[in-house]
């Protein structure tokens, strides 16, 4: 290695591929949107568009946290189980009022994130292993807490969060938008964001530049846990029921997909916040397009799979080396 290549000529990536990887998701969303508005019956109604957006919310929120984790070259498989945990905890503390219950639910998510972060940053466990452990254990614990049952929730505040609107816009959408802005500001303006991409880009170099690598990784996993807990609360509020068996099931895969097709490479070192949200929307639109054109749901999954492969293929150029 040291002997072989001294100054490898930087091989510039074709500009077209770079642009496709950066903006492809926006183009795809636009194409699907226009196509559906023109050709799919009953698509161009306010109620339907609203429904599409509301259905994206849990994936979008989880994907925001996932994007940060992926940018550090990590991955968080525990997000679905965190959603289940926060959903399971929520009814247990509703007796103290919705505020404290939500706080406890979020704290549980942050705690799971902290455990992930300690495993990854302090003990050097591979992210996929550390978070896999909590993927399994988290949902099991959620089922124990909830006694394995679905619990209906009748709380006006939570009901408003889940199904209410403010100025005609669903509250869940407002929550998603606000979180998106927070994460975007964190990434673009705060020192934290620079550290995240620096660590993902070259961890050794980041350490040798004196960056607090451990602290940053801890914070990233805690954030991912917190955001997953928010998604759990929102989802529970919308359903009006805490369902730890099914809430957030397999959402880690959708979130990772949204992150990757949104232009954040699995190799880390870059993060696209708007792209991530658009990635989540794209997956939703694909499902909607196929279902509303009377094709089976399994087709939607296959199309999504193809899109993942294409997105990873486009990013392949810049990974590693």
């Amino acid at each position: 290695m040291a002997d072989a290549v001294r100054a490898p000529a930087p091989r510039p990536r074709p500009a077209a591929l770079r642009r496709l990887s950066d903006h492809g998701v926006h183009v795809a969303v636009a194409v699907l949107l226009v196509g559906n508005l023109l050709f799919t019956a009953n698509f161009a109604t306010l109620a339907n568009l609203r429904l599409q957006l509301v259905q994206v919310v849990p994936i979008a929120i989880v994907a925001l946290g996932m994007a940060l984790v992926v940018a550090t070259r990590g991955i968080d498989l525990s997000v679905g189980s965190v959603m289940a945990l926060s959903a399971a905890v929520l009814p247990l503390y509703l007796g103290y009022g919705p505020g404290p219950a939500v706080v406890v639910a979020l704290a549980v998510g942050g705690l799971v994130g902290l455990v992930n972060g300690v495993a990854v940053a302090v003990f050097g466990v591979q992210p996929i292993i550390a978070t896999l452990a909590l993927l399994v254990a988290g949902r099991a614990l959620a089922l124990v807490l909830a006694d394995g049952r679905l619990v209906e929730i009748f709380d006006p505040t939570l009901g408003w969060i889940g199904n209410g609107s403010a100025a005609g816009v669903p509250v869940t959408l407002l929550v998603t938008g606000a979180l998106g802005v927070v994460v975007a500001v964190l990434v673009r303006r705060a020192a934290f964001g620079r550290r995240v991409v620096a660590i993902g880009g070259n961890r050794t170099a980041a350490t040798m530049a004196g960056l607090p690598v451990r602290r940053t990784l801890l914070a990233v996993y805690v954030l991912s846990g917190l955001l997953a807990a928010v998604a759990g609360v929102v989802n529970t509020a919308r359903l009006g029921a805490s369902d730890p068996s099914f809430v957030g099931l397999l959402i880690e895969l959708s979130a990772i997909t949204a992150v990757v097709i949104g232009g954040t490479p699995l190799a880390g070192g870059r993060v696209r916040v708007l792209g991530t949200l658009m990635g989540a929307l794209l997956m939703q639109l694909i499902t909607a397009t196929i279902i509303q054109n009377d094709l089976p749901d399994s087709v939607a999954r296959m199309v999504q799979a193809v899109i993942i492969v294409v997105a990873v293929f486009i990013q392949r150029e810049r990974g590693g080396s």
């Binding site: 290549v5 020192a191 620079r194 040798m208």
Partner: protein, 538 residues
């Protein structure tokens, strides 16, 4: 094969022609082999002949082409040009497996064994003796393992997990596996820095094993930067530099100084006691307390008791061969590699918990020799790369001040003449020299008291090199303490006002004033003596 091996080596002891001694048959003949990576020649028409029963040392500094040559011989890389002959027949290996099947074994620094498995299992991994029903014949395997290891004088319980044994024993097992248990037996063994993690006693053991190999007619290619071992173990030596072969000849006809000179690209008769240069005299005033005082730096297999003092305005050179402790010293001072013992104090304050972050906070900067792996963050912009380490100082309430970042970037881009189209362009698009300047800027914008520069001009173009060398003087003139590490003697001689020469993790000589010269440095590296043969240390 012989049961016992005390027989004298069959050949190669006193060859009369450097390329083909009369009494050895060539096992491997590499002829005019070239290899390019991305337009850069890693090897340029290099030839090498390995004879049966000889130990052939391969030496050279970083970037000389040793690894590439090994990889071609062991089938990892196909050569771009030239030919490779094994036992007289031209071969072209499709991969390492082909080379192994042909009897070419490699023992790398990092052992590729399974530490959890027993010694015997490791020896026979994938080639276990089978008993009835196709099950592994454990008893038979243990017997065979004891027999094989016994030949090399290794007496261990072969049932113990390999990982519980010392590194030396593990190395022996790896070697025994490579040599003795391959189907046809190895004809060539390549050893890449085999002693880098061994204790002296274990090195002696290795030497005995190598004798056994030679007696069996195996050709050994021995890659090492430890001259002692080259002179002790090898019969012939080949020197590579910058991808070319500069010398092949019997070890007995070479002296240490000559070898060092060839590795560093100098001719002994050309090198005279160099006069002092401009800045050396200007900054020899070392009054007062040193800004950096490191004493007794010790780290297993890397450093033993290195002392280093740097005063404000002084350029201290660290000279030595690869692995001598020159980079290791800088890394220890900067907190990259943990120390077993030793203390570091900056401006009188002694540090307790030491890390790069703590070193930076104390006023130390390091520009690493490995620009790609430890320096630049290729995907980030020039701007983000420059301000990376200074982020805490450019941040208010967690938010980065773009204005202040731009100011810093602008100042250093201008001052270091970094050629960029736009501060937002990715640093990966810059040339090596400009990337190096970005890394210098990253450290300089912290306003350090001491700057450690590890090979600051390696692999960059001549113009940028001269600029960086001039910058080092300039920085020292402003009162910065600089530690300059370079494998280019000229750079150290001209740049430094004091030179510490390292060998085997120790400071073996300190040169000051008129005493600084290429000849003096090479003599110190070679072992304080111009005479050929072993120079008693060790």
């Amino acid at each position: 094969m012989a049961e016992h091996a005390a027989a004298p080596p069959p050949g190669g002891d006193s060859p009369d022609s450097p390329d083909r001694p009369a009494n050895g048959t060539p096992t491997i003949e590499v002829t005019d082999v070239s290899k390019h990576f991305g337009g850069i020649a890693a090897l340029d028409r290099v030839s090498l002949t390995l004879l049966a029963g000889e130990v052939h040392a391969l030496v050279g500094e970083n970037g000389a082409g040793k690894s590439t040559l090994i990889k071609i011989i062991t089938g990892v890389h196909p050569p771009d040009g030239g030919s490779l002959r094994h036992r007289g027949a031209e071969v072209s290996f499709g991969g390492p497996r082909d080379a192994q099947a042909a009897g070419i074994s490699t023992i790398y620094q990092e052992l590729n064994l399974v530490p959890q498995m027993s010694v015997a299992r490791n020896l026979f991994l994938g080639r276990e003796p089978r008993g009835r029903l196709g099950l592994i014949d454990t008893a038979g395997m243990h017997r065979a393992a004891r027999q094989v290891l016994g030949r090399y004088g290794v007496a261990v319980d072969v049932r113990r997990p390999l990982g519980e044994l010392g590194l030396g024993v593990q190395q022996m097992v790896a070697m025994a596996r490579a040599v003795a248990t391959t189907g046809r037996g190895a004809s060539v063994v390549v050893m890449d820095e085999p002693t880098s993690s061994l204790e002296p006693r274990e090195v002696d053991r290795l030497a005995e094993v190598i004798d056994v190999l030679r007696a069996d007619g195996v050709a050994v290619l021995y890659v090492s930067h430890r001259l002692d071992e080259v002179f002790r173990l090898a019969q012939r030596v080949t020197v590579l530099r910058d991808g070319r072969r500069v010398h092949t000849g019997p070890v007995a006809a070479t002296d240490r100084l000559g070898l060092v000179a060839m590795m560093l690209g100098r001719r002994v008769d050309e090198v005279r006691a160099h006069g002092r240069t401009r800045f050396g005299e200007a900054h020899t005033g070392r009054a007062g307390e040193p800004v950096l005082r490191a004493s007794g730096l010790t780290r297993r297999h890397a450093l033993s008791g290195v002392d280093l003092e740097v005063h404000a305005g002084e350029v201290v050179g660290l000279a030595g061969l690869l692995g001598s402790g020159r980079s290791e010293t800088a890394r220890a001072v900067f907190g990259v590699d943990p120390l077993d013992s030793g203390s570091i104090s900056v401006a009188g304050a002694t540090a307790r918990r030491w890390s790069p972050a703590a070193a930076i906070a104390a006023g130390i900067g390091l520009v690493s020799e490995d620009r790609k792996a430890e320096g630049i963050i290729a995907d980030l912009s020039v701007r983000d790369n420059i301000v990376l380490a200074a982020l805490p100082r450019l941040t208010r309430a967690g938010f980065v001040s773009d204005r202040r970042c731009d100011e810093v970037v602008e100042v250093f881009v201008r001052r270091l003449r970094i050629k960029i189209a736009d501060p937002d362009q990715p640093v990966r698009d810059l040339s090596g020299g400009n990337q190096q300047k970005v890394l210098l800027a990253r450290m300089l914008c912290l306003h350090p008291r001491v700057l450690l520069l590890d090979e600051p001009t390696r692999g960059i173009d001549v113009g940028a090199k001269a600029e960086i060398q001039a910058l080092v003087d300039e920085l020292a003139a402003t009162g910065l303490g600089v530690v300059l590490i370079s494998s280019e003697l000229e750079e150290v001689v001209e740049g430094a006002s004091r030179v510490l020469v390292l060998r085997d993790g120790r400071v073996v000589d300190v040169l000051t004033g008129d005493g600084i010269g290429e000849h003096q440095i090479m003599s110190a590296i070679a072992g304080a003596s111009d005479e050929p043969g072993p120079a008693g240390d060790g």
